[in-house]
Symmetry: D2
Subunit: 346 residues, 4 copies
Amino acid sequence: MREFPLVDPGPGEVLVRITMSTICRSDIHSYEGKRPNPCPGILGHEIIGIIEQIGDRVGADMRGSVLEPGDRVTWTEYFFDGECWHRDVLDMPQKCPGIRKYGHDLATEPPHFLGGFAEYCYIQPGTGILKLPDELSDEEATPLNCGVATMVSVTEAAGIDMGDTVVVQGLGLLGLYGCAMAKARGARLVIGLDAVPPRLETARRFGADEVLNVEQVETTTLIEQVRSFCPPDGADVVVEVCGVPGVIPAGLEMLRTGGCYVLGGLVNPDADVTLDANVLLRKWITLKGIHNYHPRHLIQALDFVMGNRHRFPFKDIVDSRFALNELDEAFRRASERSVLRAAIVP
Amino acid sequence: MREFPLVDPGPGEVLVRITMSTICRSDIHSYEGKRPNPCPGILGHEIIGIIEQIGDRVGADMRGSVLEPGDRVTWTEYFFDGECWHRDVLDMPQKCPGIRKYGHDLATEPPHFLGGFAEYCYIQPGTGILKLPDELSDEEATPLNCGVATMVSVTEAAGIDMGDTVVVQGLGLLGLYGCAMAKARGARLVIGLDAVPPRLETARRFGADEVLNVEQVETTTLIEQVRSFCPPDGADVVVEVCGVPGVIPAGLEMLRTGGCYVLGGLVNPDADVTLDANVLLRKWITLKGIHNYHPRHLIQALDFVMGNRHRFPFKDIVDSRFALNELDEAFRRASERSVLRAAIVP
Amino acid sequence: MREFPLVDPGPGEVLVRITMSTICRSDIHSYEGKRPNPCPGILGHEIIGIIEQIGDRVGADMRGSVLEPGDRVTWTEYFFDGECWHRDVLDMPQKCPGIRKYGHDLATEPPHFLGGFAEYCYIQPGTGILKLPDELSDEEATPLNCGVATMVSVTEAAGIDMGDTVVVQGLGLLGLYGCAMAKARGARLVIGLDAVPPRLETARRFGADEVLNVEQVETTTLIEQVRSFCPPDGADVVVEVCGVPGVIPAGLEMLRTGGCYVLGGLVNPDADVTLDANVLLRKWITLKGIHNYHPRHLIQALDFVMGNRHRFPFKDIVDSRFALNELDEAFRRASERSVLRAAIVP
Amino acid sequence: MREFPLVDPGPGEVLVRITMSTICRSDIHSYEGKRPNPCPGILGHEIIGIIEQIGDRVGADMRGSVLEPGDRVTWTEYFFDGECWHRDVLDMPQKCPGIRKYGHDLATEPPHFLGGFAEYCYIQPGTGILKLPDELSDEEATPLNCGVATMVSVTEAAGIDMGDTVVVQGLGLLGLYGCAMAKARGARLVIGLDAVPPRLETARRFGADEVLNVEQVETTTLIEQVRSFCPPDGADVVVEVCGVPGVIPAGLEMLRTGGCYVLGGLVNPDADVTLDANVLLRKWITLKGIHNYHPRHLIQALDFVMGNRHRFPFKDIVDSRFALNELDEAFRRASERSVLRAAIVP
C-alpha cells in the first residue's frame, strides 16, 4: 500500500473519493501477471465514488445534470479527449485509437490516482460521468460501468424484439445481466446455457425461463432441446458471453433462418473457431462482434437497473466486501470463484 | 431432345414461350452429375419468355401491371404457393420449407415444362412475375432473375451508403454486377479482387475503381494495399462472391472497425473456414450470410439494369448464343469458361 | 336474433364455435349507424373460439403449430387471399386493396357467419390463425387481435429503446396497453395523459409512472411538466391514441430533438390539424402514422400478454359479460362507457 | 470594407486564406436586415480556403489526413467545442445548444475573421475540417459545406433505396443537388416540381427524369400526374426543399402507402400547414424534419460530388464571380436571382 499526494483537479478533471470498486475478471488476469499492466499501478475500473472537487470546464454529467461536490457518480471505464474519426464520424468513441482505460496506468506518475483500488480517483477529461440516484446501493451501482453497460451494447446489437427467443451462452456476470436484459427488452423466452449447476440456478432468478447444462448432454441433443423450445425454426437471437470460441458452431445451429448471433465474451486474442460459412449463408445469419460500449449505453445501464431492481436481484451480484488492506484476500476469493463479485470498500 | 404435350394453363399458371435462357454455374454442376437432379429433367432457371396463355386467377405482375398474352416477362427462379411462417411472419418467402425452383423437376410428369432449356415453360402459382420493357434486350434481361436479383439482395444486406468503400472478392458474373451495383448505390471506391487477369480488366468496365490480382501478392500485402486505398481504417464493406471460404479471414482484415462483411457466393455445403472470433469482436464487425432473394429484389434488379445500362456494359455479359440442339456444345463452352454466359435461344 | 345454416367449411376455411367476442368502439359506431355497414350483418371482429371443423388445405397456425378441432384460437381481424403488391413486395398485407374485415358483411349471404356476435364464425382463407395457451383466460385473449396487436404495431414504429421516456396521449384501451407495452420494451418512464380521472388511476396499474390530467392545466404548463420529467431535452417518444387531432402540436413540443411521434388513434377521416412544419424540421422530428397491424404483430401481442400478465392486470380490461340476447344492453353499457370492455358470451 | 489585425492561431485554431465563398439565401436575408445578425459582421458560411497557419493541437482532418499549410480545405459551417448531451449521447453535434455558425459574429471582436466575405478566416476548435482534392474546382467545392451536405442529410433520412421513385418539391440549389443525389443513391425515377420554367430545364441536367410545372396545372391534376409515373401506388419518397409549407398536403397525396416525406427547406419559423392526420395514419406515412447536417455528411458530400461530377454539371451551379469590393453588386444579383450562385473571390 503506497501513498501519493492529492492536488487540485486540473481543467476538465474531477476528484472523486471512491466508495466502492469491484474486481473484474480482467483485473484478476492483470493481478496474476497474464496481462502487461505497468507496475506499480492501481488496478480497478469498476468504480463509483463521491465528488470531492471539480476542475474548471466541468459542468454537467452526461444527462445534463449539474455536477457538484457531494454527488455520487459512476463514469465510463475509458476516456478520450480530442478529435478522432472514430468518434466524430463513426460515433464509436469507444474505439478511438489511443483511448485509455482506468486501472491501466503507472501510479508513480501524476495524477497517480487513475484506478479503482485506492481511496481517490481523478476522473479525466473525455470521460462520460453520470450521477447516481440515492436509492441505488453501492453494490447495485458499481458494476454499471463495465458489465452492465457492455450488455446494453450487446443486447442492442442483437436487436431483441418483443416476443423473441434468446439463448445466452455463459451465465457468469455478463450472462446474468444478459438474461435479465433480454426479458426487459421484451423477450418471450430466455434460455441460459452453462456447465456450472449453481450458475444455472442463479440464472433462473435473473430471467432465464429455461436453463440447460451443456456438459450433461451431447451437443446435438443440446441443439435439439433448444430448438424444441423455439418453434417453428429455432431461436431469434443467440448471445455468446462465455469466452469459449468452441461454442459458436452449436450456437449458430440453434438459430432460426434470419437469426442473429452476437459475440460478447471473446475478449482475448486467438479465439480461433472453425465455421461452415455455408450455414451462415443458407440461414441468412447475422453474426456480430461487440466490444465495450458507447457512453449512452452507460446511461441505459443505469436506467435498466433502476427500472428492474425489484424484478431481478441485482443487489446479490456483488456478494462480498473487503477493505483496501484485504485486497490480496479479495483477489484470491475472486480468482477461486468462491465469491460472485468482490467489492473493495476503502 | 424430347417432346411433351402442351395443355391449357391451370388456375394460377401462365404458359410462356421461352425466348432465351442462360446457363448458370449450378446448371453446369447438375449437368455434370455433381448435384442430385431428377432425370430426365429440363435444367435452366434463368429464363425469359413471351406469354402465350394465362390461367384463371392470374391478374397482374408483381408491380400491378395487367398481364396479357404477348407480354415479355421474367419471373422469380422459385415458387411457393400456400401459407408459411417464413413468408407470412418473417417476410422471407425465399426460405419457405418446400419451396421449389425452376429447372429442378422430372420432365416426364405434368406439366413437363418447368425449366429453361425448352421451348415452353409453365409459370407456377406462387411465382413473382414481372413485365419487361421493350428497350431491354434478351441478353440484358435473362440474368435478372438469378445473378442480378441475388446481388440486389447481397448489396442491400451490406448497407452500402453514399461514399462507402467496397471490396468485391471474386469478379465472375456476381462480382461484375456487384461492382456496378455498389457504384449505383453511391460507393466512393470499389476494389475488385480476383486471380484471373481478364476478369480484372472486365471489372474496370463494370465500376471497379481499383483491381488487384490476389495471386500476384502475398495476402498480407494484399490486405495492406486494400487498406491503403481506404483511409483511415479500412473498407466499409467487403462482399464475398467467389465461393472460396479461405478468402474470409483476409476480407475481415480489410474492414474498418464497425464494417460489414457479406457472404454471397458460398452456396455449396462444407465451406469450412477458421476465423479468430476475437477479431470480429474487437472490430465490431457484422458478418452476414445472404442466399437467394426476396421477390422485391427482382423488381429492383430490373430497375438497376434499366437505370444503369448506358453506364455499364450489361449487354456484354451474355456473350454467346446457342440453339436448343446445341445445348451440349453450350454446356461445354460454359464449363470451360470460354464464354462468360451462354444463352440458349429456342 | 336470426338463424342461418351451418355447412362444412370449404377449402382454406375453419369453422369456429365462438367462446367470446368483445365490443370495440368501431362496433358502437356501426351499431349507431354512423358507419355504412351492410344490414343485416353480424358485427364484431374481436373474437376467439374453439375449432369445430377444419377445411381442406388448412394445416398449421401462424407459428407452425398443427391445428385440430378443439383448439382455442384467435385470428387476424382481416383476411386477404391472393397475390398483391402491398403484401408480396412491401410486406404490408394489412394494406392490400380489397382486404376484408370480420364483422363487416351481409349475414344473409353465405357463409353467413363472418362476425363476432354469433355462435359460430367461418375463418376465411388468408386469415392469420394463432393457437391460444390454456392458461390465458378468454377475457385476456379476446382483445389480442384488435387493440393489443395494433399497439404492438404502434410501439414498434415508435422504436422504443431501453431507458426511453414515453408519453401516451389518451388512456383508453389502446393507451392502457400502450403504457404497459412501453414498459415491457424497456422504457424508463411512461407518462400518461387523459382528461378522465379514473382512467389516470387505472393507467398507473398498467405501467404509467406519471399521469397528468390535461384538463386541469394550461397546455403550456402541461408541456413544461412533461418536459421536466424528461431531462435534458424532452421525451424520446410520444404516442397518440386519443383520436383527437388537436393534441398533436402539444405532443410535438414535448419531444426532444430527434424524437419520434406516432399517430395511432386518428382512425376517422378529416382529422385536420395545423402544425408548424418548422418545428418538425428544427427538432429533427419523425412523425409516423400507423394503422392496423401485420400478422406477426398478433403473435407478438400474445407473447406480450403471456409474458406480462402477472405484472399488469390485463384480466381487468374486459370487465363485463353479456349473453347474445343481451347484445343491446351490452352496446348500451359500452356506449355510455359504464364498462371498460363488454364481452359477449354466446 | 474594414481591416483587422491577423494574429497567430490559438490552440485548436487554423488560419485560412479564403479562396472563394458563396452567397447563401440566408446571407441575403441577413444582408437585407431580415435576420438579427450582429453588426458590423462578416457574413458568409460557404467558404473554402488554403491553410496559412495551424495552431497547437490540430493534427488531422476529419478523415485522418494530416493537415499542413498549403492544403485547400472546406469545413463544417458550424462549430462546437466541449461536451454536450446532443453530441455525446445522441450523436447530433449539429444540435448542441450554444453551437455557433460561421458568418454570424461581431467582426470588431477577436478573432475578427469568422465569416466568408473576407480575405481570411480562423477555423475554430470544434469544427470538422476536410481536405479538398486538387481536381475539384473552387466552384464545385464551395457549396459542399452548406447545400450539398444538407442534402446528404435529407436524402439519407429519406432512406432512398435502389429503384425508388422520388419527388423533389422545389428545384433551387438544394433541389438540384437533391435530384442528382437521389439518382446517385439508386432511384429509378426522379420527378422535379417547380414553378419557374428555366429551373425545370436545369433540373433535367441534374438527374430529374420528369419535371412538372406546379403552376400550370391544378393541384389534383398534378398529384394524379405524379402518381401515374409511380405505379401501382405512388412515390416512395417526397422531399420538400422549396420552403413553402403549403406544398406538404399535395406531397403527402403523392406518396404510396408506407412512403416517406422529408422536410428540408422550411428553415423559417411559422411554417404553418394544415394536414389531415388521418391520411398520415391510414397510409402509414413517415414524415421527417431534417435541419443542418452531421460532420460525416460533409465527407459524404465531397465523395458524392467527386464521384458524380462527370455525370452532373455541378460546376455550373456557381455561375458568377465577384471581387470583395463588388460585394454589394453580388448581393444585388443574388437577390434578384439573375445568377444561380454568386461567388466572392478575395
